[in-house]
C-alpha cells in the first residue's frame, strides 16, 4: 500500500465512463425532484448525492488506493459528522 500502488487507477476511458455515470445520475436526480415523493423527497435526493459523491471519492480521488488508513479515518469522520447532526435532533425533533 506504499508509494508504488498507482497501477490500479483508471484509464481515460474508465474516467470518461465514470463521468458519464455522474452526468446520468445528475439527470436522474433532477428528474426525480419533479415527482412529489412527500417526505422521501429529501432522502431520495441525498441518496443519489451520496452515490455520486461515492463515485468521485472512489474513482477520481482514489480513496481506496490511498490506503486503509485513509479509508478508515474518512468513514470515521463522516460518522462523527452524522452523529453531530443526528444528536442535534434529540433537541430539535422533541422540542
Amino acid at each position: 500500500m506504499e508509494n508504488t500502488s498507482h497501477e490500479h487507477t483508471l484509464s481515460y476511458k474508465g474516467l470518461s465512463f465514470i463521468l458519464f455515470l455522474l452526468l446520468v445520475l445528475t439527470g436522474i436526480t433532477v428528474a426525480i425532484s419533479r415527482v412529489d415523493l412527500g417526505i422521501f423527497r429529501i432522502w431520495a435526493a441525498l441518496a443519489i448525492a451520496s452515490l455520486k459523491a461515492a463515485f468521485v471519492l472512489l474513482f477520481f480521488m482514489h480513496i481506496i488506493q490511498a490506503g486503509k488508513r485513509v479509508t478508515i479515518t474518512f468513514i470515521t469522520t463522516i460518522l462523527i459528522l452524522a452523529m453531530f447532526i443526528g444528536f442535534t435532533f434529540f433537541d430539535i425533533a422533541y422540542r
Binding site: R41, L46, V56, F60, V70, F74, T77, F84, I85
Partner: protein, 199 residues
C-alpha cells in the same frame, strides 16, 4: 535541510486530514441546514422553487466536467504527456471560472429582485424564507470562496507543470491539489439537491 525525506503517502495522508477538516467546516453548516429544514420545510420548498434550476444544473455539470479533467490530468502526468496535462489543467481553470460566472449571474439576479441578506424585501418575507436564503447565500458563498482558492491552487499547479517543477517523477503537489478540487465538487454535489431540487 533540503534532503528532507520524501514520503508521498504521508503528504497525501496529511492532505486527506485537511480535507476532513474542510468537511467538518461545511458540516457545521449542514447541521444548521438539517435543523432549519426540519423547522421550515414548506418555506424551504417554496424558496427552492425561486432558485434557477437551469443554472444550478449547468453548474453541477460544469463542476463534474472539471473534476473529470483534473482526474485525467493526473493520469496524463503519470503517462508523462506534459502538453495534455497543461491542456487539461487549463480546461479545469476554464470550467472553474465558468462556474463562478454562473454564480455571479445567479446572485446578481437575486440581488436585483431584492433577495439578499438584510434587504427591505427580505425584512417583509416570512421567517422561513429569510433562513432559506440566508443558508443559500452562506453555503454557496463559502463554497464559491473555496472554489476560488481551488482555482488559484490549480493555476499554480499549471505553472509548476509548465516549468517542469511538477513532473512525472514528482507530482504529489498536483495529486493533492486535485484532491482539494474533487472535495469542492463533492460538497457541491450535496449543495445542489439541498437547495435547487427541494421542489
Amino acid at each position: 535541510m533540503s534532503e528532507h525525506h520524501v514520503d508521498n503517502t504521508g503528504s497525501k495522508f496529511g492532505m486527506w486530514l485537511f480535507l476532513y477538516s474542510e468537511l467538518m467546516l461545511f458540516g457545521g453548516l449542514f447541521v444548521l441546514y438539517a435543523a432549519y429544514y426540519y423547522q421550515y420545510t414548506t418555506f424551504f420548498i417554496s424558496g427552492g422553487k425561486q432558485l434557477d434550476l437551469f443554472l444550478g444544473t449547468m453548474n453541477t455539470v460544469i463542476l463534474l466536467l472539471s473534476s473529470f479533467t483534473v482526474a485525467c490530468s493526473i493520469e496524463a502526468m503519470r503517462k508523462n504527456s506534459k502538453k495534455l496535462v497543461l491542456l487539461l489543467l487549463g480546461l479545469t481553470v476554464f470550467f472553474g471560472i465558468l462556474f463562478l460566472c454562473n454564480k455571479y449571474i445567479e446572485w446578481n439576479h437575486k440581488f436585483q429582485h431584492g433577495i439578499y441578506p438584510g434587504s427591505a424585501y427580505m425584512e417583509q418575507s416570512a421567517k422561513g424564507l429569510v433562513i432559506f436564503f440566508g443558508l443559500y447565500f452562506t453555503m454557496t458563498g463559502l463554497h464559491a470562496l473555496h472554489l476560488l482558492i481551488g482555482l488559484i491552487v490549480i493555476g499554480v499547479c499549471f505553472f509548476l507543470c509548465w516549468s517542469d517543477r511538477i513532473n512525472a517523477k514528482d507530482f504529489i503537489t498536483l495529486d493533492n491539489s486535485g484532491l482539494y478540487w474533487h472535495l469542492i465538487d463533492v460538497i457541491w454535489i450535496f449543495l445542489f439537491p439541498l437547495f435547487y431540487l427541494i421542489l
